[in-house]
Symmetry: C2
Subunit: 385 residues, 2 copies
């Protein structure tokens, strides 16, 4: 049934409080290492219906976290990172769906990760936190779903690295995913993608404050390296045209004709991006997350045949890409769509015109939001929420 | 007249010896600083004809130098950086042309630059070497031409930053340039281009061995920062497809499924590129050259009107671009061509299919070389060499 509020203007989810899920059992990662237990920090928005059929899981990207919507206090100036998309009457409509957003294992926003204390040593894991791959995230998220009593998600939704989690869910837990919404993602990274990630890791690990990853033990922060890594990422998330529209060649200082002490606006912007990121993100987590991106390659287990990799999936798929995204281009989404079609899956796709590059997936672009809204509204109808 | 040797297979220029040009007079740069004198190291290939009308000037790119063709000793395994294009019977045919290739002012291969001793202090200039812009290079090259008795070049040829010098020559010295060959260049950098350059500079200057540019005084080398800068540059000079063809997702070590200690071939390649570059290039020069790239913007003096900027030019132009070059894309060359057409100049252009990105301009791609060859053969005919 359609919600009586759906005609009113979209609202916000308001005050939210993060919760913590403690997984008390040992949890073995794909790399062979067993964590004795783990915590996941998460938030929920909306109400789980009686038959628990209206849950949507939001999977975050490289630098994301659990706080996707709403605010943490009445005077919180900054809402969650996807507040434009999640809320009452918004594309991911909390009047109809129960939305779960978590910080992934290995993260630095409250879930067990490199900053957590290793019970074996009494000190932070730091660089010894084991490698985590997308499948590990999906498995740990499935345990969270068990904890919440959710057998089957109405949808798993994610952009970029989050889209990879949605794909892996559909492959690994076909009975637990009704729809997978895969936005600005790729079935695997290209050599160029890996190269940019490796340069970011090199920037971090060659910062003298990195101390082979043990910076926390010495009250040190590899802020310059992490800042550089973020700048590299940031440039690749934007499009050339988008940056041109935003900054052009505007000067912040200096005289171009004389070439003396010139600073362009785009330089100043990048410095700010790098510095503020390095204050809020953990360097070991950045290394871990980029590696998870590099390693993602579900076709590899099927002889590099993506069609076969999708064989187990029963979900319906929505695949969305953006015209100026050169990090995960339209062609990469088309590879996913083509493989899903060849595997005879239920797949819808949309290519959204946007000047904003890879970052488009975070923005409230009207056609993009309409596509999400109408796709998810049909899912809501089908699950009767 | 056409050369009798032109039917024989292309040969090499053989042994070459760098020469040095000492400019004994004070030389005032656009930034207002005056160098008391300067040296330019250069090489020549072929023979200057009687009326000195067959000279071609090769302008190098960011990391280039004077050694463009031939070898420095009989057992020299590595010929000059553009040996495939310069030589008897090659596209830049030394049977017909007298070719001059120099290391630019501010360089690190023998011309006056940050590694040179500042006569005022008796120590290397290091970071105090003044900012140099493309116009300064052109002025210093014009003094070298005077020294060699060359009033007018048959052609000024350059790729990337070299192409910018060819454009500036045509604008500043219309009577001294018969043809400007502008390859894989742009009339100005985009915000994205500047951003990548700034990240490279940040990588260098945040290396603790950089010592605010005074590393030479302390026998230190900011090799990690310079290596990172090179890796960033390198990835942007290649195309996504080209890197995919070359490396794919081939592993050098590790187990992707388990995600443990995986190294991809492309990572190992980048490490090698970064390390070997940091052994042969000077960090202060890298900073200086990237700034010259950023500052280049000949239209700025003409109210941002590129058509007007070209008004003074009398040269004929050849503008070449490569389909997968995303650093200086085909569209950027088209801007140059369109402005030249609007300014009613003599302009030819070619877009070359290539998978090799920006680096294509250094490669012996057959259609590219045929375009160069036929264009320059006509110039040779016209100057009667």
């Amino acid at each position: 049934m359609s919600n009586p509020d759906s005609g009113s203007p979209p609202g916000n989810v308001g005050l939210v409080e993060p919760k913590s899920f403690h997984h008390p059992e040992p949890f073995t990662l794909q790399c062979g290492v067993t964590l004795p237990s783990y915590e996941l920090i998460y938030e929920t928005y909306g109400t789980l219906n009686a038959d628990k059929s209206n849950a949507i899981l939001i999977c975050h990207a490289l630098s994301g976290h659990h706080h996707a919507a709403g605010v943490h206090s009445a005077d919180d100036a900054k809402p969650g990172w996807w507040d434009t998309a999640i809320g009452p009457g918004k594309p991911i409509d909390t009047n109809r769906f129960f939305v779960i957003s978590l910080n992934n294992l290995g993260g630095c926003h409250g879930s067990t990760g490199p900053q957590s204390v290793d019970p074996a040593t009494g000190k932070p894991y730091g660089p010894d936190f084991p490698n985590v791959v997308v499948r590990d995230w999906v498995n740990s998220q499935a345990a969270l779903a068990d904890h919440l009593g959710i057998g089957r998600f109405a949808a798993i939704v994610g952009g970029s690295l989050g889209g990879m989690q949605a794909l892996q869910w559909a492959i690994d837990y076909p009975n637990r995913v009704k729809a997978a919404v895969v936005i600005a993602a790729a079935a695997k990274l290209s050599a160029q993608n890996i190269a940019f990630n490796e340069i970011a890791r090199q920037a971090i690990t060659s910062d003298p404050n990195y101390l082979e990853g043990r910076y926390a033990d010495e009250n040190s922060i590899p802020d310059k390296g992490l800042g550089l890594a973020r700048m590299i990422g940031h440039v690749t998330y934007l499009s050339d045209d988008g940056m041109g529209e935003k900054f052009g060649r505007e000067l912040k200082s200096g005289d171009l004709g004389r070439g003396s002490d010139v600073e362009f606006q785009v330089e100043s912007y990048l410095h700010h991006q790098g510095q503020s990121f390095s204050r809020i993100f953990d360097a070991n987590t950045y290394v871990l997350m980029t590696r998870a991106l590099d390693y993602f390659d579900p076709a590899r287990e099927s002889n590099d045949n993506l069609v076969n990799a999708f064989e187990s999936a029963t979900a319906s798929f929505l695949v969305v890409s953006f015209t100026t995204d050169w990090r995960f281009s339209v062609a990469r989404s088309k590879e996913i769509v083509d493989a899903l079609i060849a595997a005879r899956k239920n797949v819808a796709s949309a290519v959204i015109e946007s000047v904003h590059g890879h970052d488009s997936f975070l923005l409230p672009l009207s056609r993009y939001h309409e596509v999400l809204r109408s796709y998810l509204a049909r899912i809501a109808d089908e699950v009767g929420s």
